[in-house]
């Protein structure tokens, strides 16, 4: 390992392929890449955000890292140990050290289990003998819930409460890495902050590393040290969050950042509009996969796949990375933007 600190997670050239068809013998067997070769690493105690729109492969990537999704190529190394080829039995001890939070706050809780049992389920699974009541109390108080909820079923909780129970379950075994898939999805704005503060606080107190998957860029800015923007299963830009926010270098990142409606009616909206049709994973565009929607696309962008270039501390998959604040050319070759 180079450097003094061991990486908690290293992902190299990861691919996840899905097979489609044939149905009833009709149609061809096709393969599509949900994640098409990505790599990143994570230091202990740091937060990494995966950003992208639906279908960009961010959830698939997270599930692959957590061993819930078989990979077709690449390596996943957790704390120096390769984990992508482990079977369920050999993966089990690692589940003590790595946990995942799922998108649906209520739906990820078993509907016929009470909160008390849900929170301590990890101990039961791993046969760890503890005082369940005391542990329940400790975990619930860590996530800011009172013992009143222990006898409730998931459907009797509010979204925010259910999300806290999910957090309590995830931190029960003192993991070193938490993967949080859309931790603020389905929550009201006034609750979102609570959950993010809680995660941040726990991260600091327990020294957790975190991967946060989200489509909400504003969330990323406040919680993540580093981030990657995904498009069609690949990273188009990866680097320190501050750098990306202050000067996005990939056109897609720039468009995504500008597409964020902000609650300020007076703010000038110099939006970068994109044509609405997202290419299908079954028919990936030739060359740069974003060129079909890119307002900056040039004649030859569809000819060759761009090599990642280094901009500051970032890697950007674009042959012509943007300057800070660069606007699209007036005669952009894509569809006329809205308005």
């Amino acid at each position: 390992m180079p450097g003094i600190m061991t990486k908690i997670l290293e992902v190299e050239d990861l691919e996840v392929a899905f097979r489609i068809g044939p149905a009833f013998g009709i149609g061809q067997r096709k393969e599509l890449l949900g994640v098409a070769g990505v790599g990143f690493d994570l230091d202990p105690g740091k937060t990494f955000a995966l950003v992208g729109e639906s279908g960009s492969g961010k959830t698939t990537l997270a599930r692959a890292v957590n061993g819930l999704q078989a990979i077709s190529a690449g390596r996943i190394v957790f704390d120096g140990q390769r984990i992508d080829d482990l079977d369920a039995r050999r993966m089990k001890p690692l589940r003590l050290r790595m946990s995942m939070m799922f998108q649906d706050p209520v739906g990820s809780l078993s509907p016929r289990m009470k909160v008390g049992d849900l929170v301590t389920e990890a101990y039961r699974i791993h046969g760890i003998d503890v005082d369940f009541r005391a542990e329940t109390e400790r975990l619930l108080s860590l996530v800011g819930l009172s013992m009143d909820v222990t006898d409730r079923f998931p459907h009797q909780l509010s979204g925010g409460q259910a999300r806290r129970v999910g957090v309590a379950r995830a931190i029960a075994l003192n993991p070193e890495l938490i993967i949080a898939d859309e931790p603020t999805a389905g929550l009201d704005v006034s609750i979102q902050g609570e959950v993010l503060n809680l995660l941040n606080d726990l991260r600091e107190r327990l020294g957790l590393a975190m991967i946060i998957i989200t489509h909400n860029l504003h969330v990323v800015r406040h919680v993540a040290d580093r981030m990657a923007v995904m498009y069609l299963g690949r990273f188009v830009e990866i680097g320190p969050t501050d750098e990306i926010f202050s000067a996005p270098a990939h056109p897609y990142t720039a468009a995504l950042l500008s597409a964020n409606p902000e609650p300020d009616p007076d703010r000038a909206k110099d939006r970068i509009a994109l044509p609405a049709e997202v290419p299908s994973l079954l028919h990936r565009p030739e060359g740069c996969e974003f060129h079909t929607r890119c307002p900056w696309a040039r004649q030859d962008c569809g000819d060759e796949i761009p090599e990642a270039v280094i901009v500051g501390q970032r890697r950007v998959a674009c042959r012509f990375p943007l300057e800070r604040g660069e606007r699209p050319p007036a005669d952009s070759p894509t569809d006329p933007p809205t308005k």
Binding site: G107, S108, S110
Partner: protein
């Protein structure tokens, strides 16, 4: 309606359990002098062609009917749930194999199946039970399979896997409790069907062997004398009707009890 259902079921079960205490006569004591007596204070439901007390026979017949129904449904449930879980959660190939097996069993007509088994093994209670299990089990297995398939991909199951839970735990703790409710409702509604199957087979002489009392056998005995002594058919039919209503009402009530999400408390 639930209370009525429970009352009727309790009535039948109590009658069967305490049959010896409640009846004044032995169920198969033949008394040629009392042949075809109409209902009276002495014989509450009258007597049959052999002078046997019908009240005693109905109560003791209840024992047979209920024990056959409950035990065969229970066996059917255990096998059905096990097969259903394996088919729903296991690999695709196993699922296809199971479906083929279940569908072949199910596609066999009940009457033919019963006749075939009786021809092979002779009429007996065991044959009745085997028929019941074969008739009901595929349906149970299918329900469990379908629901398991749906839950397999649900987020809470994935969440449990990511905590390290193994397949036995997933099935026992996370899937079973969520699929068993509807099945129990169905099973309780199936009990009268089973009683009817037992009665029907006994009526045809394919079930319990005489002189063992059975509701179906009573009906059969009464059928020959339906014009002269209709009370025999009534004595055989009434308990079947009561039991059917009782378990059906009970099933309806269970439906409300079993789904905590229908609970409006919050």
């Amino acid at each position: 309606m639930g209370a009525l259902g429970i009352a009727l079921v309790v009535l039948m079960v109590a009658g069967a359990i305490f049959a010896d205490l409640l009846s004044l006569y032995e169920p198969d004591r033949i008394s040629p002098r009392d042949r075809f007596s109409a209902p009276s204070m002495e014989h509450f439901l009258g007597t049959d062609h052999l002078g046997r007390d019908l009240f005693a026979r109905v109560l003791h017949g209840g024992r047979i009917a209920l024990s056959v129904a409950l035990s065969s449904i229970l066996i059917s449930l255990i096998i059905g749930v096990a097969l259903g879980l394996v088919a729903g959660y296991g690999p695709r190939r196993l699922d296809n194999l199971m479906l083929l097996l279940l569908d072949s069993i199910k596609s066999f007509p009940t009457v033919m199946l019963a006749l075939a088994l009786v021809t092979l093994f002779g009429p007996s209670l065991t044959v009745v039970m085997v028929v019941v299990v074969l008739v009901t089990m595929p349906g149970y297995a299918r329900i469990i399979r379908t629901q398991t398939l749906a839950l397999k991909e649900s987020e809470f199951v994935t969440a449990a896997i990511s905590l390290g839970a193994g397949t036995p735990r997933i099935l026992r703790v996370h899937i079973m409790p969520n699929v068993i409710g509807p099945l129990l409702i169905l099973a309780s509604m199936d009990i009268p069907v089973v009683i009817a199957i037992e009665a029907g087979m006994s009526f045809l002489g394919l079930g319990v062997r005489p002189p063992t009392p059975s509701w179906g056998a009573i009906l059969n005995d009464g059928y020959a004398a339906i014009r002269e002594s209709p009370w025999i058919v009534v004595a055989g039919g009434l308990p079947i009707i009561i039991t059917t209503l009782g378990f059906t009402f009970l099933g309806e009530t269970l439906r409300d009890v079993f789904d905590p999400r229908l609970d409006t408390r919050r």
